[in-house]
Subunit: 221 residues, 2 copies
Amino acid sequence: MQNQSIQVEVCAVIFSLKNSRLSVLLLPGETEHFANSWRLPGKPIRPGSSLEELAGNSIQEIFGDREFYLEQLYTYGDLDRHPDCQMVSVIYFALIPSNEQIIECRNELQPTWFAVDELPRLDMDHHSIVEYALRRLRYKLEYSAVGFELLPEFFSLSELQHTYELILGAKLDKRNFRRRILESGIIEPTPHRRMGEGRPAQLYRYQDDAIAEVKARRLFP
Amino acid sequence: MQNQSIQVEVCAVIFSLKNSRLSVLLLPGETEHFANSWRLPGKPIRPGSSLEELAGNSIQEIFGDREFYLEQLYTYGDLDRHPDCQMVSVIYFALIPSNEQIIECRNELQPTWFAVDELPRLDMDHHSIVEYALRRLRYKLEYSAVGFELLPEFFSLSELQHTYELILGAKLDKRNFRRRILESGIIEPTPHRRMGEGRPAQLYRYQDDAIAEVKARRLFP
DNA sequence: CCAAAAGTGTTCTATGTACACCCATGC
DNA sequence: GCATGGGTGTACATAGAACACTTTTGG
């Protein structure tokens, strides 16, 4: 059933906001085994690259040489994951700002965004991996500042609140949200304002030196 | 400097209470590169065993076929970890009840307990791995029931409190501790009592069906 | 002047914290 | 009967939750 080889790969669960929905980037699956299914981007490990570099490269191949949030999620290594070999997958999860675009020269890979509540059929155990990444993302929101990583450099407090509401799947109280975020000191006001319908919004920027302090405290109930 | 091979191994950070100190089990290091140093128990991956099985086996070789708490910690894969090859280490952490003994036939391995605040020189980056495992253990104590895993099947509330104080490195209020633990419902009283100096203590047992519920709530500030 | 989104404080409730004395047993 | 560790409740402080109106802009 299963031959004697072990393969080790690095994969990434890439989250972003697309059409006001939390979405995951997937590639078409390998057709030999998993017809009409999709898979997480990734690549086999190779000498000369660290695990994190490989995960970062997989993402930069799709989005270009941007900065983004990247964190190791879990390493899957059960015997029944792949029909042909024993597959060990080191999974990372990444957050891409909503304004970033897939670079055109990579269209041949057919990278595609799927809303997390409308995932297609996925290869192997990738479906449960995405679900786990989503739980971890929701949990991280409560006690760290990770939500900003899905927004452009400048954003309004309402945009930030909508991001949190999208990910947590719940409405948050506007005044409590603003008070907590501002008191936490993880964002700073900028001279910019966003004009649109209604009153212009103060724009804020993320202070990256503030991450460490916030990690210890829960921001949301 | 570094040849082109990649090795993948599974290691375990094994915690227990020895002489009223939180301790880690170490084996003598490989002498070719790391003279007079110690290392985490572990073994290379091999076809036919999942990662968790390999971690579990490494521990059962030392303690026999016991049950114990085992959880994946992190996968280390930087380039500069080992002088000879690129080493990927999937690290697990385990909690062994304080009454468990190292089985005698394994004495040739020279497994040795070291208090976490008096660690010897360790191979590679194993020192920072132990420190990370310790941070994770302390953090887990706050919001889950993991402390029981270091005690025998029956234990008194004072013994449990001392365990928490040892791991967290801080004194806890007796009444608040007892109230919170009992209200959480993660332990149940047993008919047994521990006799000794002073008033006999009610002994409790861990209810393993209660783990899931408690995971979401913080038990300690 | 109306629609639309931004912005702002206070009260109430729940949770955590601090704290001191009586109880049951062995010697 | 006394030394030793086991066992118990209440008052206070802090943090989170609920809640409605005013402000600024564009059309």
